[in-house]
Amino acid sequence: MKRQQQLTILASRPLLGLIATVAILVVASVAPIIFNQPYFYYVSYIVLQYVILATAWNIFGGYAGYVNFGAAGFFGLGAYVSGYLYHTYNLGLLAGLVAAAAACAALGALVGYATARLRGLYFAIATLAISLLIQVVFINMPQVGQSFGFIVTPPPPPPPYPSYIAFLFPVMIAIALISVLASWFLLRSRFGIGLFSIKDDELAAESVGVPTFKLKLLAATMSGLFMGLAGAPFPYYQLYISPDIISFTISINSVAMPLIGGIGTLSGPVVGAVLLSAIQQVASVSISSDINVLIVGVLIIIFIVAAPDGLLGIFRRLIGKPSTQGEKS
């Protein structure tokens, strides 16, 4: 089957994709004005947050094959930077987003620079250490309230939105769309195919002219940037920032969601994020919040053993397509 045929309608007709994106944005922006359903916005915030995190993780983890075990650290850094700027200097969400993106991009670049020479294994351990270190730093930093953290009083919602959480809905939709679009461009670009070649065989990639170090550095930076964006609105959602937000659960989910959805594809992380967030919301309400983490852990084991291509890989095998990467399913 020709690879061209495997690209979906949206991917091969960018105009349609653009229209869909704008449509989603418009609906998302208008809906909260009309429908005031705070519970829905609270739930969807978390789902969208994970869509962003999973997509960001996938850029370095799924495309290049470098597993990040410390997504919580990046997320937390983004949240702290954004929260601190608002709490101390009264700078709003936009400033928070920009600053968080910059800080986390820098962190991604730093970690990438230090470890891109090494095997992915050492990168993974380094990311775990970084996230732990970030938590230790914040626990000991008086400017952010050390282990107590600080409270955030949200600004009044921009009219005509009924509440700030309602306003955050289109914001998160927008960030999610940006990260998915960025991921999509990456997938189809020269940069993307370079990353895939690095994942397949880094030595061969280097030998055919792929500047592996530079590409890895860029991918790590991009991945960090989007994780920072995922964390930036968090202070406005939770209204409280403390070192506890650098929770291991976030790191676990950031690995599990792309894995279960389908690493290395565009929609895999999105599918995984939506599915797992939904399961976790249901489980934490009906059973308990740690059972849902247990479920994720079990799913990680099951999928890494039996279905490393994730749900998308299973789907593709069922309908008879070869498992090539770089496709939106």
């Binding site: 690879r3 370079g194 397949d200 065989d201 280097e206 055919v208 002219g209 090539t324 990467q325």
Partner: protein, 248 residues
């Protein structure tokens, strides 16, 4: 024993050890532009290591590698590829999740000297890759995944990928290993046509027929040292070479 070196490529006084194993000891290897040179020797003599040092997979412990008057001793492999040094691998290393066409296309996109003008979606990279596959008889298989390719197809893919970067120097690491006699001839024909385009070729091989038919000059390594260098005839009759290959 003459060393007809040249200033196209020169690797001088190369030393390389891995742990306690001395892979190369004071090896100097020079090439003139347009030569067809064979690099032979028993297993473990350092041939692949030498290729790896020229192509940039390893850096030598000491010694220099100069290509077209530029010192490339510490340059990363991808930079050398852009300068025009291409290689094939002893055991083919395809990108398993990319189609045959994409395997070659990526080399065009990244390795060719004017790659900066080539975008992923541009038809130029696709066309160049398709033409290469056509030349090597692989066109019908362009959408197949590497795991479905035969041994000779994979060797040809390695060649196509190496050619895709538009090389000036082509390093072949046992490209004929495991091929039938007919297939060896097929590859030899391809290599000769490549050479006619002005590409300098270094061939590491165990298949003597290929070496004798293809190479003008042969360098012999044994246990990390160069023990002979000369024309095909000279080497065929060199007592030291015979001893090293056949034992006393």
């Amino acid at each position: 024993m003459t060393d007809d070196g040249g200033d196209f490529l020169s690797a001088t006084h190369i030393f390389k050890s891995f742990g306690g194993i001395k892979a190369l000891t004071d090896v100097s290897f020079k090439l003139k532009k347009g030569e067809r040179v064979g690099l032979i020797g028993p297993n473990g003599s350092g041939k692949t290591t030498l290729l790896n040092i020229i192509s940039g997979v390893f850096k030598p412990d000491s010694g220099r590698v100069v290509f077209e008057q530029t010192d490339i001793t510490t340059r990363p492999a991808h930079a050398r590829t852009e300068m025009g040094i291409a290689r094939t691998f002893q055991v083919p290393r395809p990108f398993q999740t990319l189609s045959l066409l994409d395997n070659v296309k990526i080399a065009v996109m990244y390795g060719s000297r004017d790659h900066k003008k080539t975008k992923s979606g541009s038809s130029r990279a696709s066309d160049t890759a398709k033409n290469l596959l056509k030349r090597l008889g692989l066109e019908p298989k362009e959408q197949t995944l590497p795991k479905e390719l035969t041994q000779i197809d994979m060797r040809k893919m390695e060649l196509a990928r190496a050619l895709a970067v538009g090389p000036k120097l082509l390093l072949l690491d046992e490209v004929m290993a495991g091929l039938t006699s007919d297939e060896v001839d097929e590859v030899l024909k391809i290599l000769l046509s490549i050479h006619e385009e002005g590409i300098t070729i270094v061939m590491v091989e165990h298949i003597m027929r290929a070496i004798m038919n293809f190479c003008e000059r042969i360098v012999v390594l044994s246990e990390g040292r160069q023990i002979a260098s000369g024309t095909t005839n000279e080497i065929a009759n060199d007592r030291e070479v015979i001893r090293v290959y056949l034992g006393e």
